[in-house]
Symmetry: D2
Subunit: 414 residues, 4 copies
């Protein structure tokens, strides 16, 4: 048991940290003005930094199955954890290193399930950061936390699939650089559960596909990676656009979710670290009723509780990454659900502590807590709400204890 | 002890309920489209309803000191509690009855401290719903929960006051119909604490006054009653615009805060009632993993916990109103702090329960939880953050127990 | 709406308060030494005070159906709330006024369902405080929160009932002065749900009845009103000992539970009031790291949070009592469940705040928090665990909202 | 980074697990009857198992500074973590392997600060499990969480120290096999803070030392390792009984606390693991309202939340042990405070979940939750209450962030 990252990991993380400290953090405000205020999503600043990261090979680090010939550096999940935490500190840093959602999990399923033609057309340009993609699963009309509820139809007509339905929270679909979507829908409603759905690749410019709107999340619209509502009206794509086999959609979805959730958690840890540091700084700068805010024990407790939550969550995320690497996705299922619940909650609680310490500024856009709260709050729902993960944990807990009889050893009168 | 409202109160509340059910709720969507989407803050719908309410005398009900000759109906705080709860169910209902913040507390301090000239110029048009006002106290550069921190200078120069400083969260100042602000600032920095500040009336069109921006609150901008940032650069008003005496600002502020907080709490109770009802309805409409959401005991518990919190908070608000009426502001100080903490928390918790039950829709603008959460979250800071009220409660708790010695009766070995 | 108790209530409460301050509180330690340390459950001190209270008519105040000829003063539930809060401040005060559980709810069902003979034999001596009783429903072998699970058999054999089964948490059965139990069991397993059970009166000295042990609750044994485990082996009583009709047990149980729960809540409010006062006193007496504990904002917050919880809970209890008086048991069902959840939680939280403020002393028997915590913790289970009451609240919430459609008014895109 | 224990650790843990499964768990009831019911603290069962463990060298594993010639196996803190978790599953298992508190930390400070004579007389017999010891620091009359408050006087008189004062929570002093206490007191009230106190060894049979009583903790008395109240009246010991140098008491106390806290945390993790397993089993055995308790989503959530808390706490404990081994006590200070807060809370919460799932049985002595709750609740106070650790964490957090300026990068308007 060793809680230090391996030397190679430390070296790579140090390079990323270097770029973060010298090129990203000092230019955060510049980027925010360009992207958030002026809606220029690809300012020169970003393009230049992407080139730099690409040149250093600090690229595609979120893809444990990156090919030897692909650009970038292949990292294990655990190795990426060290990097992702740094990237998570500002919202746009992941894109600098081509490690941003939803492209990374989309690249991953293309690697795993894509045909050579699909890889050439869609994966290759993503691996060099040329285009963006989206993933369309959630639907407004059903409780999508149960994937079996999904109602969008993907009907076979000759050599085509024809798609009809409504999706929302298709992450990133509204980004102007988004070139295609991976869409989940029902190809065979009569198949057994888990075999009814398939995934197809839909180019963004396919007729019949309407980008309805970019949704706000707690009134925040992320222009870079918006949560988009989409309408599919007789959208037709060739059968060769199917990802994996017909009826394999549920399975691919499961494969996609694990790493996607874990990466979100890793980044959240880094963001929370920043929020704690900001709280400490703010507490030392203000005073009320004749004493510095930092002297109030309840303020101290709010910050310390944030640390208690974060340190624990970080370790659980790291162990989950380690387990994914060493024991595989199935063995790590409970861990993935555990971090989903724990990190979302820690993130949410830390935001709330921060808002309270920042006072009125905390709820405005002048401080990062409002956006962080929007992200954290939604994170308790995205990728499965807390409730579903708690149910999953329980089922695995039951399985683990099967056949035991501790009640007779520990209970009863003596 | 009697938990029924008096017959007169019930009769008035029934009239308001009638308008709410027939004229407001069915047209809520219509109003939202006009005001929130198209930014038409005075659609005919609103103007017509105001006329109707005015005609029925269902007007100015939030002013316990309403004059006999003033338009509307004078209600006690407790009576208004019954009405305010109905109004709180939709955001714009209060304005229909001229019972909306921040105009009601501003009218109240004009009633209490205004000169006849001030009343004629500023109070009279507000009493008929003709103009709007704002209140500028909080500043971005200091922790304003301690009013002694306020730094804006109001300097006497001959027959004028000259104001310099920066304010934010000046509620409603960005509404196009806002005609004047009541501004808090330091007239005498050398006076003893509590005597340094004064309040002056500043017409919105006074030179030197800049409306910098309307702030978002958790990314939500309330266009009707925005939280506005203001810059005062050598803003000059006649000395006759001073409200009350010089050095009396702190005192007037205290007088203003009591009812303002209580009214916010009353309206929040009504809003929470709606949120609970929506949760119940939603839980019955959706299903996951083969059963209706309403059958999950954790969903049931979320709704029931909301009810546990709300029923208790409602009663405490009602008793506070009763105490304000019967024992006065000073006797009700602890109660006001208690409801500030309890209602903001119940509101916040109920929003969070609702978001979880509504799933992805809960964080969008398609459901009322996102806006409610923004309001509720900020409410934990506005009008004194939780921490300050908990401190106030403690001090009053200590006072109440002075001289007791229960430790000797209840502790020790036997 | 009026939050003052009626003058008559205030006058009676003042008399009780007088005895409490002069005769009970100053002698609390004396009583504890006698009863808790020396296990003398009827010290002269208690007997004398009972005589005094009886003489003043401050007696049987927990029985809203007290007969005109019965000793004592008939109070409504709301009136009793004012008295019970005083009594709750020390554990043995209720007995001084013959208002103690489980005798009061037992007297109440004897009043309601007892035959004249039963009343003469069992109710009459209780009304003068001569004997004690117990109530045996909960069973160790089934989840008794669902009364339908109860398995004890009460079989008719000629003119007798023969009882077999095991009960526990039969409150007060282990008190040496307990003369009879009211036992719930199945008389007809084939009857429809809710009609299978009956109640019978079982004298404590009936052959076949074994008092197995007095249970500890979080290791605390209440010698006055112990939670007793009982074994029934062919215990035979005449059919005339049946309370109410055969199959009526479930119904009588429901009738009994309402007031029993409410009285527990009322007393808990009084006890919590004491705990808060003790915290305030303790916080002013100790210091750490160079400042008084009372100066730490987190200590202040712990006390203030206790007050926030208690004031709300108290009001909800009072309204529940008022509703029981004015609208009846059925209308008050939701309120009874609400206070059960709210009071148990407030009580529990206040104990935990107190323990933390008292430090090591807080967990010992030298301070009242350990016993209070035992009571409060168990209170979250007795009379229906939180979970069951939350389920009840939800069902009633659903009923209340039936037929509404607020979703269409409040949700959707605009 | 590696989350598996090293092979050697796994091998040792497997041996301990073997004894636990074959010799301890199956005989738990037997031991409890002997020790808890019949107060036989050294039943043959225990003596035999100690011999076995001693023979296998599974002995003294909690002493990272165990000498090469000492009996047993020297483990690092991290290695012991693997063992301690197993031992924590039942209360008496630690003693089987001579790894029980308070003897292990007492042995440790004797190793570090004891003279050869002291080691020969007191340490040697403890290392073979022959005698027991106690540690007397906390005092009833002062807030002992601030060690500077300690008031017991240790006065030098010629070649003796004379001790006067009152101590409580002297863990294990009431065990009949306890032969000596290590007592903390003031030798020089005029010395600078941190240099006023010394520690002396006081044999249990020294005249003037009175064992006043064994304290209950939430009414539970641990007869094996009771929390004892002690009175020192002119208790005289030779100067050679001083541990370390005069004025060095505070420093030794600090040295002692680190590992003591960590070991408690390690054992608590093992105990919590058992409690979760018991909840899972119980939930599958009972049913209410027509369905198994395990099917209620709120029951599932209670168990899953327990797992979320426990997995995180376990990792933090392991990392703390690793840090103590690799970076030393000072570097691990924040971690020690973090686990103190996190583990005590997780333990407490898990107990409360368990009680609720076990229903009435949960509060009795028939299930392990009542004792666990007593331990967990007190653990939030022992070794520094939550509040003090949160303060420590904050101070270290501030230190860590010194000189940073993230506010300028992350806040402000754009």
């Amino acid at each position: 048991m060793d809680f230090d990252h391996a030397p190679r990991t430390q070296a790579i993380a140090a390079q990323v940290e270097d770029i973060f400290q010298n090129d990203i953090l000092p230019r955060n405000r510049e980027y925010m003005v360009a992207a958030e205020r002026d809606h220029d999503l690809t300012p020169a600043l970003l393009t230049d930094l992407k080139k730099k990261a690409f040149g250093l090979g600090l690229w595609n680090m979120a893809l444990p199955q990156l090919g030897d010939d692909d650009p970038g550096t292949r990292l294990s999940n655990l190795e990426f954890a060290a990097v992702a935490e740094i990237l998570g500190r500002v919202g746009w840093a992941s894109e600098v290193f081509n490690c941003h959602a939803p492209d990374t999990p989309n690249m991953e399923i293309l690697q795993m399930f894509g045909t050579e033609a699909q890889k050439a057309e869609w994966l290759a340009p993503m691996l060099v950061g040329g285009i963006r993609s989206s993933f369309a699963m959630t639907e407004p009309d059903v409780a999508s936390s149960d994937a079996n509820n999904i109602a969008t139809r993907i009907e076979r007509r000759g050599d085509s699939y024809v798609i009809n339905g409504r999706k929302w929270f298709a992450t990133g679909a509204g980004n102007p650089n988004c070139r295609f979507l991976i869409v989940v829908g029902v190809t065979n409603p009569d198949a057994p559960r888990g075999r009814q759905q398939s995934m197809v690749i839909v180019p963004t410019d396919t007729p019949g596909l309407t980008i309805v709107r970019n949704l706000s999340v707690l009134h925040h619209v992320d222009h870079r990676t918006p949560h988009t509502e989409l309408l599919f009206e007789d959208v037709e794509v060739p059968v060769s656009n199917r990802l994996g086999e017909e009826g394999g959609g549920f399975l691919i979805g499961q494969a996609r979710l694990g790493p996607a959730r874990v990466h979100h958690c890793m980044r959240a840890i880094g963001r929370c670290e920043v929020l704690i540091r900001l709280m400490v700084e703010r507490a030392s700068r203000r005073s009320t009723f004749g004493k510095a805010i930092r002297e109030y024990s309840s303020v101290q407790a709010a910050i310390s509780e944030s640390r208690v939550a974060l340190e624990q969550a970080r370790l659980l995320v790291q162990r989950t990454a380690w387990r994914l690497d060493n024991e595989g996705n199935k063995a790590a299922r409970k861990d993935v659900s555990l971090i989903k619940v724990a990190v979302a909650r820690a993130y949410h609680d830390i935001c709330n502590h921060g808002i309270q310490i920042f006072g009125a500024m905390g709820v405005t856009e002048d401080a990062p807590f409002a956006e962080a709260l929007a992200t954290a709050r939604a994170f308790r729902i995205y990728d499965g709400p807390d409730e579903v993960h708690l149910q999953t944990i329980f089922r695995l807990e039951e399985k683990q204890g099967e056949g035991q009889d501790l009640l007779s050893a520990y209970t009863g009168r003596y």
